[in-house]
């Protein structure tokens, strides 16, 4: 358990104990010290607990483990371990081009203004559909919008491997098309193999090292 989580649990324990005193003996609030303690217990500490909890839950919601906690996402998690470098998510995950413990969020967030918020709202929508709606089959899941090159360029723009890539730099129109999102990075003939969950049964899978250093989730 992280130190911040431990601190939060301690704060919650302290707050519950403090409130319990006032629930059992409400007359304690009669004194000035009691009023101050009541203010801390009923107002300041719960607010702090919720604030810290919110921050912690937001961090947790970026984790790969969080995204894969829904049964429907399991095939997508497995697709990160396909032993084939032509599979884009697998090669990013296995080679740490994205942080393995935040693999989903890193590629599926939105690197525009309020993009993080938009991604979180999208996540809430997923949860609504998963728990209260009728979720589709894993292979039928589609993005709400076509994948935007902006998310790829957030990391790759300026990188030598991208800027001087044989295909990328072969024609100035190609590079312009990529950077203006007119030519999708995941279009046919380019990096087209993404989460191919329908054909998982035909794939070989990479076995992680025993220490799990490549995917801490």
């Amino acid at each position: 358990m992280h130190f911040s989580a431990l601190l939060l649990i301690l704060l919650i324990g302290l707050t519950v104990a403090l409130i319990a005193v006032f629930v059992i003996r409400p007359q304690t609030t009669g004194t000035a010290a009691g009023k101050i303690a009541a203010f801390l217990g009923f107002f300041a500490f719960p607010l702090l607990c919720v604030g810290m909890g919110f921050s912690s839950q937001m961090d947790n919601s970026k984790s790969t483990r969080f995204c894969l906690s829904c049964h429907i996402m399991e095939p997508y998690g497995r697709s990160l371990r396909i032993d084939d470098p032509s599979h884009l998510p697998a090669s990013h995950f296995q080679n740490h081009r994205v942080p393995p413990d935040q693999a989903c969020y890193t590629c599926h967030t939105n690197y525009a203004m309020f993009g993080g918020l938009k991604a979180k709202l999208g996540g809430l929508r997923h949860m609504y559909v998963y728990y209260l709606g009728s979720p589709p089959k894993p292979e039928e899941i589609r993005l709400y919008e076509p994948y935007n090159n902006r998310e790829c360029l957030h990391c790759h723009a300026g990188a030598r491997s991208f800027e001087e890539g044989v295909v990328h730099a072969a024609d100035p129109a190609t590079m312009t098309g990529i950077k203006s999102n007119k030519l999708s990075c995941v279009s046919s003939g380019c990096h087209e193999t993404v989460h191919d969950v329908a054909k998982l049964g035909e794939q070989k899978f990479w076995k992680e090292p025993a220490d799990g250093s490549s995917a801490n989730h």
């Binding site: 319990a20 629930v23 919720v50 909890g53 839950q57 947790n60 969080f66 728990y131």
Partner: protein
């Protein structure tokens, strides 16, 4: 005296709401998946958001009802 009992009763109710909220929040930290997030955001956070204004309302009403 009756006013005092009412205020104390309200404090008890607010206290129970906040204790429930905080226990649910602590419970949400046992999990790492979407259910933990739902427990936190739809139960714990909402109960705290109800409990704190209820406490502040109790203070305001106490002031209004207090004879001095």
């Amino acid at each position: 005296m009756a006013v005092q009992r009412t205020t104390e009763g309200r404090l008890k109710v607010v206290g129970v709401i906040l204790i429930c909220a905080l226990l649910l929040e602590a419970l949400s930290f046992l999990g790492h998946g979407a259910i933990a997030f739902v427990v936190f955001s739809l139960a714990a956070a909402i109960l705290v958001c109800l409990g704190i204004p209820a406490y502040l309302l109790t203070l305001v009403r106490k002031d209004q009802e207090s004879p001095h």
